[in-house]
Amino acid sequence: MRRLGARGQLLRQLVLALVGVFVIAPLWSLAYMAFDRSFLGRPTEFRLLPDEFSFELFGRVLDRAAQGVPFTTLLANTLVVAGGSALLALACGASMAYAFARMRFPGRRAGLFALLSGSLLPPIALVLPLYLILSVLGLRTTRLGLIVVYTAIALPFGVWNLRAAFQSVPREVEEAAAMDGAGFARTFVAITLPLAAPAIGLAAFVAFLGGYSEFALGWMFVDRADNVTLAMGLWNAITLAGADWNFMAAYALMMCAPVVAVFIALQRGLASGLLGGRIDV
């Protein structure tokens, strides 16, 4: 391929800058407000930068994020619920995903099809049946109940992504282990799992992100302010409080920042986890 000349370089950088504006503009239109205490309620003027720079709003969010509950409580709830559901989904699905990735059993195609059909259901469809199941178990309004709800959402795609993760491990490596006398289970634990770790991490992160940002179903189950998650609290701030825009912006920023940081740190590893998801039903 030809070397990239100065003009080509400039042209490409310009295009990328354009995409960069597209990516940043909506975020910035929200984020700058978090540092601005020059107005109350809804902004009525255009600003590129905060007028009266301040960190005060973040303090307010930390103190009473939603319905008087501090941010840290909500964060803890979120980590428990989103993390718990991601782990539960992967723990339930890992061995199944491996079987789908590596074994040839009768009904495999039908099984994949069924798996996929589980992911076709819109989340709202889970409300009534899970409401029933969780009521019977007495878990309906608890954080554990919410973990179950989010696990149901995360499971089908979780298995799907895990299967992709296992497929990204070269078969030859496993065969070599088998030649050395390792059994199927041993190969899985000692060889495949570590090799697929980055991709598994990605699948876990995607599942975690689902629970991290879910609010609509959450509000149908939780009825105590202590059990609310970050996303649910933010949704409340948007719809009920409505008017308090810079508070909402500070909240949103505090909610996004850690995830984005993790994401950027991991982004080199992300790509390798994306491959191999095949639909051969």
Partner: protein, 695 residues
């Protein structure tokens, strides 16, 4: 030979009975609609003159002169044998339907109109019986050819024009070309809109690039124009003035109050096609439109190969309907014939697909021994899926067969759903009047759960939520396409060796993926809200993001692409890394550059890795929901999944009743059916099995 002829005859006879039955019922049962009084009056005025032997009346009288008079003449002939009556009163086009029209006149005029509609189906049946069937049961066709409207005659003549055209293309006999021209002229004299078929024929001839066509086409056009003038006697006294007046009327009407008030988005014609006629449902024996139009979608490629003029007709007609501001439901009738043909081809395509041999994807045969070994590995996941995915699906299926609502929730959760939804099949529970077409109807709600069977799912299928059905399709297709284009383009640019700051850009571009979906929606709503959003305040104008369904769709789409492109960019980037430089070197030796390199080498090589990601993103996009909450969705511009959520919500909004769990469940079941079909079709066509790993 004789046997074949007999078979054709029987088929046509069956078609005749089918089309006549559907329209006969509609003629009797349809209530009087807008405009029917106008065209009845037009026919009556003409009939008055004809009755007195005043043939010249046709050059003087053309009530509602914006439309040419041919079909009005047909209406006049239909009411001529009946005793004369006072003509229907002269009122504006926006006047409410006149329910007091004399029943015998209405029946006669409607029957006369319907005859042409029936003929259209039968005539098309000569070319393709399946296509004829599709027109025969097309509910919009049934409605607007069974009422006193101006659609049936031009519908018939436009079909005749194309049939003659196809004959000419095959035989090259001038007679057929002349027949086509005459039919086209009559079409224009029936209703201008139907003349788009002429453009399709013209394009068909141009695409053929046959030199001898030139003169023949000139003659064809001249003959069509002559026929038009001959068949429009109202033009004779003042051809130019009256013609221009009628044409300018439509331009004015398109920008007028009637059209503004309806406020349909540009994609409204597709909404009409995403379901059956939603009004006066008892008048229709069939509501198969969504199914037939889905088949038509499947048959487009075959249609293009086998009947290009029909495909062009569909394309030109649709393009016109999308652009033209007036979007009344009867306008989709100009597409009835080509859609019928496409649906027929779709059936053949489907048969081919089902017959087609399965690609041998599995190198080794599955054995039961291996099955036994796999069982313990499958068990935990299978159990979890059973409880958390399959059970909810089955429960939703049961709910969709009841009328469960907020009122009956207590009974429903205490076993009512199973009693009514499952037990109903054995007659254990009473039937419910609940219907998706009348969500506000209190009769549909009761304290105890009642049985509705397959009715609700059937009603979704027949277009109870045509708005959202179409929106889901449009949303999935457009957001996915744009995300893929942007993602792959950015990946290609970043992949260029020697590019600076590539890592930095990539880190920036993945950010939207990590932002919770509804927060991204909030950000875009804040940026793009008309009037008081960041852009509107900064630029002082709303453009290009506006209000109304179409304006908000742009914001939704930008937000959807914003969230969707990073993962596709990463996937494409990873796939690009796997292409070795040698591939490009050898391609360069063969002289491939730029676009041909991209189309011939790069895209085919990354496609197998991109395809699964696209399918998964497509499934997610079809069910997208959180995004629409903050941005809003005026005029039903939202996905079915959002609608299902809205209907099940406890807080109901004006015009949107809440806690209708059965309606929500019916939508969920419909979504699963649609997506299952899509996945099955895609996995056969796109050969998604060719991935990496153990390939």
């Amino acid at each position: 030979m004789a046997l074949r002829r007999a078979r054709t005859l029987i088929l046509l006879l069956a078609l005749l009975v089918l089309a006549a039955l559907a329209r006969g019922v509609a003629v009797e049962r349809l209530p009087i609609d807008y405009d029917e009084d106008d065209y009845l009056r037009a026919g009556q005025l003409l009939a008055e003159g004809l009755r007195e032997g005043d043939l010249a009346i046709v050059t003087r009288s053309n009530y509602r002169p914006e439309h040419p008079p041919l079909q009005k003449l047909a209406i006049a002939l239909a009411v001529l044998p009946l005793p004369p009556r006072e003509p229907a009163p002269d009122v504006g086009t926006d006047a409410p339907p006149n329910a007091d029209l004399p029943a015998d006149l209405v029946r006669a005029a409607r029957t006369g109109t319907a005859a042409f509609g029936i003929l259209q189906a039968v005539v098309l049946g000569l070319l393709s019986p399946l296509a004829g069937m599709a027109v025969a049961v097309n509910s919009f066709h049934v409605k607007y050819t069974s009422q006193i409207m101006l659609e049936s005659l031009p519908g018939l003549t436009s079909t005749l024009a194309v049939l003659a055209w196809l004959r000419w293309r095959r035989t090259r006999r001038r007679g057929w070309l002349a027949a086509s021209a005459i039919a086209l002229g009559l079409t224009a004299a029936g209703k201008y809109l139907y003349a788009v078929v002429g453009v399709a024929m013209l394009l068909d001839a141009l695409l053929e690039r046959r030199r001898a066509n030139g003169r023949a086409l000139l003659g064809w056009a001249a003959l069509a124009a002559l026929t038009f003038i001959a068949a429009d006697p109202y033009l004779w006294p003042d051809p130019v003035g009256r013609l221009l007046a009628s044409v300018f009327y439509h331009a004015g009407y398109a920008g007028g109050a009637d059209v503004q008030r309806a406020n349909f988005p540009f994609w409204q014609p597709f909404v009409w096609l995403a379901g059956s006629v939603p009004w006066s449902r008892p008048a229709f024996l069939f509501s198969l439109d969504l199914l037939i139009n889905g088949l038509a979608l499947l048959g487009l490629r075959r249609l293009w190969r086998r009947y290009r003029v029909m495909a062009l007709w569909l394309a030109v007609g649709m393009a016109f309907l999308l652009v033209w501001p007036t979007k009344w439901p009867q306008y989709v009738l100009i597409l009835a014939t080509p859609i019928g043909m496409a649906a027929a081809e779709g059936i053949y395509a489907l048969v081919d697909m089902l017959r087609g041999s399965r690609a041998p994807t599995q190198a080794r045969r599955a054995t039961w021994r291996e099955g036994a070994r796999a069982l313990p590995w499958l068990l935990p996941g299978a159990l979890a899926l059973l409880i958390l995915a399959l059970l909810p699906l089955l429960y939703q299926l049961a709910v969709a067969m009841t009328d469960l609502s907020g009122q009956s929730l207590r009974d429903g959760l205490n076993g009512g759903v199973l009693r009514a939804g499952v037990g109903g099949w054995w007659g254990a529970a009473a039937n419910s009047p609940f219907s998706l077409f009348s969500l506000q109807d209190p009769a549909g709600r009761a304290i105890e759960t009642r049985f509705t069977g397959l009715r609700l799912i059937g009603e979704v299928l027949s277009g109870a939520f045509a708005n959202q059905t179409w929106f889901s399709i449009m949303w999935t297709a457009s957001s996915l396409t744009l995300s893929a284009v942007l993602g792959v383009s950015v990946a290609l640019i970043l992949n260029r060796p020697g590019l600076r700051y590539a890592g930095l850009w990539r880190a920036l571009f993945v950010i939207p993926w990590a932002i919770p979906e509804f927060l991204g929606g909030v950000a875009w709503a804040r940026l793009a809200e008309p009037g008081r959003g960041w852009l509107a305040l900064g630029l002082g104008v709303n453009a290009p993001l506006g209000e109304g369904p179409a304006g908000v769709f742009l914001t939704q789409l930008l937000a959807g692409v914003w969230m969707g492109f990073p993962i596709l960019m990463l996937t494409a980037a990873t796939a690009l890394k796997r292409i070795t430089p040698e591939v490009y070197d050898s391609a360069a030796l063969d002289g491939a550059t730029g676009v041909s390199l991209l189309r011939g080498i790069t895209l085919p090589l990354i496609a197998p890795l991109l395809a699964p990601a696209l399918v998964v993103r497509g499934l997610i996009a079809f069910n997208q929901f959180y995004l629409f909450q903050p941005i809003g969705s005026p005029g039903g511009a939202t996905t079915l999944a959002s609608l299902a959520y809205g209907l099940a919500q406890s807080r109901s909004a004006p015009g949107r009743p809440g806690t209708l769990f059965a309606a929500s469940a019916a939508i969920d079941v419909f979504i699963v059916i649609v997506l299952l079909i899509a996945v099955a079709a895609l996995s056969r066509r796109a050969r998604l099995a060719e991935g990496v790993g153990d390939a």
